[in-house]
């Protein structure tokens, strides 16, 4: 089929002999099976970290944010660092699902579900920090535009902090809706596959009663496309607005027009690093190596290289402009000679090494296709991007325009606890997700299976038609089919072998009798005790012919091995496209060999 054409030079995105049914089985397995020990260990650790963080949050809120290490000079430190870090991480998901959809990148389909989940969970963590930082989070509703008598005053629409409120809540809610809409067909698959009535009920509710009508799919695809078109500028706007929090101020190092594009590139950079970190582990734990392949990993590494390159250019520009301006304050910004040699030299060099130098190794093809090295680089970038935000916020604030206020920042155990707690919370959510949600957008992956699956690429290149190749023995139970539709008028149908469903092929009673005679000779296939063999292994039998043979009740090598010229002639008579060379190709002999 030309509609499934893909250039042979493209590497397959789905490895192995996968059919549509295999995808359902593989994606459903982690949900329908039991959690293993390593899952419980990870979950317990994450839960403990989360509870510790929760304790620190309760302590902060009940005592006041004085328990943090902030001082008069450095009024923003770990809290806002963590906020920006988490928001940045939350950019990869929508980038993968929206921007790559607009670019028609098929490789996004195996990873978009988890990347979007990661986005939502990361934005939840990010949102916690400004709310805690308010000190009195029960007044958080003051950030929404409510009339003066309910709060202090109308909110200030000139303030980037308020833009943030709108940007992040729009981003979170639109991402959630985008994610959930894509989940509906996959929840429906789980609902229809599970045998547990409880799961049927739960996934029935979660799937919103998705039935997969042609019109639903047409709308589904249109909605996905429009949401992608809306989410693309949205994802760019979110980190742009976060960067405005800094860029519209007058603090040296913050007051910079380069910030919006530089922040967006940095966000994608850190987001992809986090996607790599999570997926490299997940593909192993839930056995999805055939779907999240080395090709996917390499593509993501290329995005990391590109965005890392943009970030590098931004660093160098900042450093150069700071020096070239000749303004003395600029020598104390986070990218300056003063920062590199000052009291925060370690934070400066952590940034340079983690974000600028280590990712350069990905230019080597062998290394960016190495899973262990990719994992290490991803972790290093995660650390480096945390330091980038720490440097921007703390180094710039620590040496502001008034030299007498210069000071250092040191975090308290509460600062650290809240941060560790959000990491714990993030992993609690992600681990729960990995056990209960279809972690791969299986409906979308099925739609590219015939163009990008390894097996189908092979079939297509051998010149065969793809039509009929999706048949899967485990679901196509011909034997269970009623003999004839008009069985009321065709009562003697039961006389014929029940594994024969040859109504399409056989029109006369004589032929039906002949088939019965043949099956009596070569043996009848019993689906209850026998398993069907792959008849396509016999040279000369393609998928279409195999289906026809199945309709005649021929399923096993054993049956074929007992065939003689009489049977070949009968098949020739019944099946139109029968090659007529079964005798010359010696099917019986081939089947005899395959049997062993």
């Amino acid at each position: 089929m030309s509609s499934h054409y893909e250039a042979p030079i493209r590497e397959p995105l789905i490895l192995g002999e996968k059919s549509y049914h295999d995808i359902s089985v593989d994606v459903g397995a982690p949900i329908l099976g039991k959690a293993n020990k390593s899952w419980w260990i990870c979950f317990s650790i994450a839960l403990i970290a989360f509870l510790w963080g929760l304790g620190c949050i309760v302590y902060t809120v009940s005592t006041g944010i004085g328990v943090w290490g902030l001082n008069k000079t450095i009024g923003w430190a770990w809290d806002i660092t963590n906020f920006v870090w988490w928001v940045g991480i939350g950019h990869a998901g929508t980038l993968i699902s929206a921007v790559l959809l607009l670019f028609r990148q098929k490789w996004r389909m195996a990873i978009n579900r988890s990347a979007e989940a990661m986005t939502i969970f990361a934005v939840v963590q990010a949102g916690l920090f400004p709310i805690i930082h308010m000190g009195r989070p029960w007044l958080a509703y003051w950030v929404v535009p409510i009339p003066n008598q309910f709060g202090s005053l109308w909110v200030n629409f000139n303030s980037p902090l308020l833009w943030d409120v709108f940007a992040i809540s729009t981003y979170l809610s639109v991402s959630l809706v985008f994610w959930w809409t894509g989940l509906l067909p996959d929840f429906a698959m789980i609902r229809d596959r599970t045998k547990s009535p409880f799961q049927q009920k739960i996934y029935g509710i979660l799937s919103f009663g998705w039935s997969g009508r042609a019109k639903d799919w047409q709308r589904f695809e249109e909605v996905s496309l429009v949401l992608a078109g809306l989410a693309t500028p949205l994802v760019l706007s979110v980190h742009t607005i976060v960067s405005f929090d800094f860029a519209t101020s007058v603090v040296p190092g913050w007051h910079s027009t380069i910030f919006p594009p530089y922040f967006v590139a940095g966000a994608i950079f850190s987001g992809f690093a986090m996607v790599q970190t999570l997926l490299l582990v997940m593909r192993k734990v839930v056995n999805l190596e055939n779907y999240i392949t080395i090709v996917h990993i390499e593509f993501m590494n290329k995005v990391i290289l590109l965005t890392g390159g943009i970030v590098t250019v931004a660093y160098l520009t900042e450093y150069f402009i700071g020096w070239y301006s000749g303004v003395p304050y600029e020598n104390y910004t986070y990218l300056s000679f003063g920062a590199a040699t000052g009291p925060y030299w370690w934070a400066f060099w952590a940034l340079i090494i983690c974000n600028l130098i280590v990712p350069l190794t990905l230019w080597v093809k062998k290394w960016r296709r190495n899973i262990l090295w990719t994992f290490i680089v991803a972790l290093v970038i995660n650390i480096g991007m945390w330091f980038e935000r720490f440097d921007i916020i703390v180094i710039c604030l620590s040496k502001d325009r008034l030299a007498s206020t210069w000071t250092m920042f040191s975090p308290t155990f509460v600062d650290i606890g809240v941060f560790v707690g959000t990491i714990g919370f993030f992993f609690v959510l992600f681990l729960l997700y990995a056990r209960t949600f279809p972690v791969i957008a299986q409906a979308e992956v099925k739609s590219i299976l015939k163009s990008s699956g390894e097996r189908y690429k092979r079939i297509r290149e051998s010149g065969e038609d793809l039509a009929g190749t999706a048949t899967d023995e485990r679901t196509s139970n011909y034997a269970a089919r009623p003999e004839s539709l008009a069985s009321a008028s065709n009562a003697d149908a039961t006389y014929h072998q029940s594994t024969v469903n040859a109504d399409a092929l056989v029109d006369t009673e004589t032929k039906k009798a002949e088939i019965d005679l043949m099956l009596a000779k070569i043996g009848k296939y019993d689906p209850a005790t026998q398993t069907a063999d792959d008849l396509k292994k016999i040279s000369g039998v393609g998928p279409v012919l195999e289906q026809k043979l199945h309709q005649l009740g021929i399923y096993t090598y054993d049956q074929v091995s007992k065939m003689t010229k009489t049977e070949y002639d009968l098949l020739d008579e019944i099946i139109d496209a029968f090659p007529g060379r079964a005798e010359r190709d010696d099917w019986a002999g081939q089947a005899q060999n395959l049997k062993q």
Binding site: S3, Y20, H21, P145, W154, V155, N156, F157, N158, W163, F166, A167, T170, V174, V177, T181, A188, M189, D192, G204, I205, F208, G209, W210, S211, G212, R213, A214, K215, D216, Q218, R219, F220, E222, V223, L225, V226, L227, L230, A231, S237, I241, E444, S447, A467, G468, T469, A470, T471, D472, T475, S476, Y478, R481, P482, S484, L485, A486, A504, Q547
Partner: protein, 179 residues
């Protein structure tokens, strides 16, 4: 429809399904519905479904969002409680607009996205606690089901035709609702 008979015809391959839909249409059989486990590209055209207008809805919702943002900020910042913020007085909406652009954009996206998705859910009749209506559970796995209107057709002839198109299973449904 005299008899109200409906055939549920199962296929296990999307290419065969597409061919079958085209053949059914060329023979002027009426396809009531097609259930598929994933979006089969071109199926809507082959079935003769009209284009969806949901993108147009989204555009209109976006305009509504933009208007809401404009009216809200004009009322709050210019009319109800004008403030002098950082030496930038609030004389007119147009003069202060650059500061309002981010929120005008965000609300446009907010309205366009959410109202479109709600429209989609309402039009396709999907919402929590809705019961699924796919006739065979395999249609979310790897099977494709065509609902063919069998009223006033000879069942044996039609089923033979359908098996010739590559159907793997056919079942007859006496559906009172369709009668």
């Amino acid at each position: 429809m005299a008899s109200g008979n409906v055939l549920h015809v199962l296929y296990n391959d999307d290419d065969i399904l597409m061919k079958a839909v085209k053949e059914l249409r060329s023979k002027h059989y009426r396809i009531i519905e097609v259930y598929t486990p994933f979006p089969v590209h071109g199926l809507d055209k082959a079935m003769g479904l009209p284009y969806t207008r949901i993108a147009i809805c989204s555009f209109i919702y976006g305009l509504i969002g933009l208007s809401v943002a404009t009216l809200m900020m004009n009322f709050i910042m210019i009319e109800d409680w004008p403030r002098n913020i950082g030496g930038k007085p609030s004389f007119s909406y147009l003069q202060n607009m650059p500061a309002f652009v981010p929120i005008m954009f965000e609300l446009t996206v907010f309205f366009a996205a959410h109202l479109m998705v709600i429209t989609f859910y309402m039009r396709s009749k999907i919402w929590p606690f809705k019961k699924a209506e796919n006739p065979d559970v395999r249609t979310t796995d790897d099977h494709f089901l065509i609902e063919v209107d069998a009223a006033n057709h000879d069942l044996d002839e039609l089923s033979k035709f359908l098996y010739d198109t590559g159907a793997t299973e056919i079942s007859l449904i006496h559906n009172e609702e369709h009668a």
